[in-house]
Symmetry: C2
Subunit: 333 residues, 2 copies
């Protein structure tokens, strides 16, 4: 099954994206597995410069939603943007999934409206995979839904659990709710409400997880709203940058290397991208700052998502989990 | 002016608190500058064991609000808790300020109800001082008010600005609003509303600040609600612990030392505590995990707060700033 690739989205696009695609073609991908959205001459010249002869199929366009543009407005004024063409290819079955390193809001909006939601799912959530003391952690939502309601958070728990099961091979993923205290009564009304819903669900709910436990391996899935999730990831990213910058004064190259290795845990540019869970299709959102070395891992993540059939499992789990309060709220929302 | 000290609050109380008080008495404090709340025999024995002969005045009690207790309930059932006695001493003018390393919620509740708010201020905010690329940054609220309204956030900006002016000597502190995007339309309705209020204020508003810029020195004061502020600080704390733990495998002691030095930026145990801005008195909330070495700096922070008269400046600034929308909302709230 093909993967649609947004060649023009991202801080270092198209150069680094094409270099990454070329790397993938030289290792474990073949040309017929890609559908590249962008200007044909740029794509061909770029891939050829990296020694690629067998050029994948191209969705020809030179429109792109820039990172500073308002998503909905830009999607309207640029009907042939790379992200719109990628979404269209998935919708029409020409591709089994897509990846974009461009404007995150545009990718979320184009995928949500273009592909629709999985049956029962209310809102998409960006699922980031972090590495903690005890292995991989799925954190969602990382920014798609900054004002999530209790039902949205509950569904993120269900979808994140299915993802951790299928992608990380965890039989009964432990689900934690990010909160500012350990007790059930902490947090906003939505957070308190979802706490009760999770306790009554068949998920393996480990209760509230405080910020300092994020990397401690106490849960395999961590649920929060898009404001908090986005803020956390960016703060850690900024903190790592700050420390690395300050440590430039250090003479030891070994020291700087060690920093980078340890900080890999927080660097989701390394992992390649985050999965947009909940939409009816496989959508990977790459980090805008990604360089070529993040592209091939991201392409493998898309392939892994497609092969695992996570979305089928999410539909089943959402159907099976719907608690009374959720189905009631579903009527309203 | 005396400082009231909660000797029983904190993970390592009373031992580490008393050791810290002894250190302070051996350097730049005298016995008549303290009022120690706790069991007299414990305080006397503890201080004597560290070579202190001149024992400060004591507010005798053996009641303490434990860290796991619900603040309001515990404050009711323990009328002579150390935190209640410290607040009482400030209220009655026997002390100019107080510090507690104990239950944060209890300190906030006891101070808010016992001392009342500064005229015009609606809610207290915990103000943490971080060190970034360009010096000190005041981040508030760090957990007192998890569901802050726009007016609360606006007043945090005003109070934080007065604090940065008085305590950090910054003539026109740059105020930033923590948000998940750079544009005015980002974030919750409360965040969007306070953005507009800050733009119309006489504060030096630098706009939205994203998570990755937290340590970048783009603002001297960073405003957010207590849920996000608390989460951010704890995530960074947990991340530092995680990296330090992982780096134990590193052979180089120099490396571990470098980590610790650089991570000082995020370690507010080092700074000693956070000021509870907005209440009618000087209240410092120490980190519960503090050891003795954090106590003397925290005591100096209390003394600095008292001497600077930050609260007078906050009252003036709140009065001067009240924009139309704020005064309207003040009627409602």
């Amino acid at each position: 099954m093909r993967i649609a690739v947004d060649v023009l989205g991202g801080d270092h696009a198209p150069g680094e994206i094409l270099k990454g695609v070329a790397d993938a073609l030289k290792s474990d991908f073949t040309a017929d597995q890609f559908l590249l959205a962008g200007p044909p001459e740029v794509i061909e010249a770029g891939l050829r410069s990296h020694g690629i002869v067998d050029i994948p199929a191209i969705l020809a366009t030179d429109q792109v939603v820039e990172s500073h543009e308002k998503p909905t407005k830009a999607l309207k004024s640029k009907p042939r943007s790379t992200i719109a063409l990628c979404v269209g290819a998935v919708k029409q079955g020409h591709a089994g999934g897509l990846i974009s390193f461009g404007n995150t809001g545009a990718a979320v909006a184009a995928a949500t409206f273009g592909l629709g939601m999985l049956p029962g799912m209310k809102r998409p959530g960006i699922s980031v995979v972090l590495t903690g003391s005890a292995g991989k952690i799925v954190l969602l939502d990382a920014g798609a839904n900054p004002q999530a309601k209790a039902l949205h958070l509950f569904q993120y728990a269900v979808a994140g659990s299915a993802f951790a099961h299928d992608m990380h091979g965890i039989a009964n993923p432990r689900v934690g709710l990010l909160n500012i205290g350990g007790e059930a009564g902490k947090g906003s009304p939505a957070v308190q409400e979802v706490h009760a819903m999770l306790e009554q669900s068949s998920l393996t709910f480990v209760g509230n997880v405080e910020g300092q436990e994020l990397f401690a391996g106490v849960a395999d899935v961590l649920v929060t709203d898009g404001f908090v999730g986005n803020m956390i990831l960016k703060v850690v990213e900024g903190f790592v940058e700050y420390v690395v910058r300050e440590s430039q004064a250090e003479k030891s190259a070994e020291l700087r290397q060690t920093f980078r290795r340890l900080f890999g845990a927080a660097d989701f540019a390394d992992i390649g991208g985050a999965t947009l869970l909940g939409v009816d299709g496989v959508v990977l959102i790459g980090h805008g700052r990604s360089h070529a070395n993040a592209v091939a891992p991201a392409l493998r993540a898309v392939r892994g998502d497609i092969e695992a059939g996570v979305n089928r499992h999410i539909i089943e789990a959402i159907g099976a989990e719907a608690p009374d309060s959720a189905s009631q709220e579903a009527e309203r929302d």
